[in-house]
């Protein structure tokens, strides 16, 4: 006879309500885990998307994701001629805001050279850029769909295709333009400002610069040796793909990552305390019944089983509810919530340990119960 199951069945509504509360707490824990993963994955996605082996950037800078980097447009030709380089392409990055259907879209604009590295890898809907101007491929998080148009700067761009999960470390969804369009967007002044600039005898700022240059290498070539060669040109620096990813994680998203990580730690601690409190309270409410069980001869293992099994059941149902809930709502979060099976497994392990430890408090209280209390004087 399973006493834990019978007790749960007897107080089913209350048990489920407790599980729901715990489930909501687990949803928050899982959401934080997902946001943490999403933050890192999003940051890395944008670096991994071009499938680069080498990033050529402005000398003494950490590359376009960490700080401003400007290199001459024609650097690409020089790099492309280096030994081991099979493909090279210029790329620009900038964040812009655009009005769309009464709202303001914040976009991460990536300019690249068609037919060269740096463009979108997998088009999920529509097609890639084919025209030299005024076409864009957008991340689905922008809410844009193929066929729609959007004013960027002084030009209207048609959305021709969609990609997924491409955004910067701030969570702004990416749009891909041709390099030429992106450079115009970067440098083009509003008409009044352009007139003032012309009246002062100046020229349009910027000129032919890009943020970085992406190079793909022959597999037999060590990227570090090519990077070393590039660094010999004093106005340039070079980062291997691994270095670029490290910079992104260590410097760009590090604070946000630590912040979320710390919050996750606090949340797990709070969950552990809440679980312990629930289980302890559940046990305290059963002390009279536990005393009766002791008096009629139930061994300790029966009493321990009653508490531990209920505790684990509470954790398991709460976790299942939490998982179900987060899977239902994760796509409604403004930032990507990325849940891996390993997260669910890790949380299962943590909750199991917490439940067993928490039930230890209840078990301790239960084993202290004096059966004599059942025979009143």
């Amino acid at each position: 006879m399973n006493l834990a199951f019978r007790d749960v069945r007897h107080n089913l509504f209350r048990f489920l309500l407790t599980c729901l509360g715990l489930g909501l707490l687990m949803t928050v824990v899982l959401a934080m885990m997902g946001i943490y993963n999403g933050l890192v994955a999003d940051a890395l996605n944008i670096v991994k998307a071009p499938q680069a082996d080498l990033w050529v950037v402005e000398a003494h800078t950490q590359g376009p994701f960490a700080e401003a980097s400007k290199i001459p447009n024609d650097t690409r030709d020089a790099v492309a001629r280096l030994y081991g380089v099979t493909q090279a392409g210029s790329i620009t990055y900038q964040t812009v805001e655009a009005a769309f259907e009464g709202a303001t879209l914040r976009l991460y604009v990536i300019g690249y050279e068609r037919g060269r590295p740096g463009g979108p890898q997998t088009i999920t809907e529509g097609r890639g850029l084919q025209a030299s101007h005024f076409e864009m491929v957008a991340d689905s998080k922008t809410g844009l769909t193929p066929g729609e148009t959007l004013m960027l700067g002084r030009n209207r761009f048609a959305v021709v295709g969609l990609v997924r999960d491409t955004m910067n470390s701030g969570g702004d969804p990416a749009v891909f333009l041709t390099l030429a369009d992106a450079q115009v967007l970067q440098t083009q002044l509003a008409p009044p400002a352009a007139r003032v600039q012309a009246a002062r005898g100046g020229t349009a700022p910027g000129g032919a610069t890009v943020a970085a240059l992406i190079a793909r290498l022959d597999p037999s070539v060590d990227p570090r040796s090519v990077a070393q060669t590039v660094r010999q040109w004093k106005h340039l620096s070079a980062l291997t793909q691994a270095e670029q990813e490290d910079i992104l994680i260590q410097s760009v998203v590090d604070k946000a990552r630590k912040q979320i990580g710390l919050f996750l730690g606090i949340l797990l601690t709070v969950s552990a305390v809440v679980i312990a409190l629930i289980i302890y309270t559940m046990t305290m409410e059963k002390l009279k019944q536990i005393a009766t069980l002791k008096l009629i001869g139930a061994p300790d293992r029966v009493i321990i089983g009653l508490i531990v099994q209920q505790s684990v059941a509470l954790g398991a149902v709460g976790l299942t509810l939490g998982l179900g809930l987060i899977l239902l709502v994760k796509d409604y979060f403004p930032r990507r919530v990325l849940l891996e099976p390993v997260n669910a497994l890790a949380l299962t392990g943590i909750i199991l340990v917490v439940c067993v430890l928490a039930s230890g408090l209840g078990v301790r209280a239960a084993l202290k119960v004096d059966p004599a209390t059942e025979l009143g004087g």
Partner: protein, 237 residues
């Protein structure tokens, strides 16, 4: 009259129980002797704090005497120390408890409350269920076998509690105010039932009671005062 040739089920010799030491010492029981035979139904009377519950707890192997000897069903279980390691098993095998407020487990139905004790003693689920149903029918609450304790009347719940106390055919039944929650008529019925069971199972029943309406149902009445069995009223019947 009592037949003293009957087997002694509970024998207590020179049992004392005190709490605290020195000036703070309180003697709950002093040098107490008691013999209860098979089939006997005895009552422990006395004012509150006289030591009735302490005596019941000692016979039930729940608290340690400070000194003396306790024999249950022919087995010496305490001789200035417990001679059995597993007192809960001893209780399971030899002692049945009936409480003032039935104390049925609220999450088990009537049958399961009785079957639990049997399963704890090692019976299979099927055997335990069959015996529980049989006992409940015998105690005339078979029609309430699937009812949860909260849905039982006071009399029904007390009968289920008696069935639980009797499930493992214990030799000793300890009852703490078994009729306190019942009206006179039901109290009489429950006491008659206990007398019948004691006779049939050759068990002894020791009950703490204040209920004067049922005193005529006991074979012997013991009056406890200041920790002493100072007045054996004798065979009340």
């Amino acid at each position: 009259m009592l037949d003293d040739s009957r087997r002694v089920i509970v024998e207590i010799k020179s049992v004392a129980k005190h709490y605290g030491e020195g000036d703070a010492r309180v003697d709950a029981l002093r040098n107490l002797d008691l013999k209860v035979h098979a089939g006997e139904v005895v009552a422990l009377l006395g004012p509150s704090g006289s030591g009735k519950t302490t005596l019941l707890n000692i016979i039930g192997c729940i608290i340690d005497p400070s000194e003396g000897q306790v024999s249950l069903d022919g087995e010496m279980v305490y001789d200035n120390k417990w001679l059995r390691g597993d007192l809960r098993r001893l209780r399971l095998d030899k002692i049945g408890f009936i409480f003032q407020a039935h104390n049925l487990l609220p999450f088990l139905n009537a049958t399961d409350n009785v079957a639990l004790v049997l399963q704890l003693a090692g019976k299979t689920a099927a055997q335990a269920q069959a015996r529980a149903v049989e006992l409940l029918a015998y105690l005339e609450v078979g029609n309430r076998a699937r009812a949860m304790p909260a849905l039982l009347s006071g009399g029904e719940a007390q009968r289920v509690a008696i069935a639980r106390a009797l499930a493992n055919s214990p030799r000793i039944i300890l009852a703490d105010e078994p009729t306190a929650a019942l009206d006179s008529k039901r109290a009489g019925i429950v006491m008659d039932l206990l007398r019948k069971l004691a006779a049939e199972q050759e068990a002894c029943i020791i009950a703490v009671t204040h209920d004067e309406k049922i005193l005529d149902r006991f074979d012997r009445l013991f009056n406890l005062r200041d920790g002493r069995l100072e007045d054996i009223i004798g065979d009340a019947r």
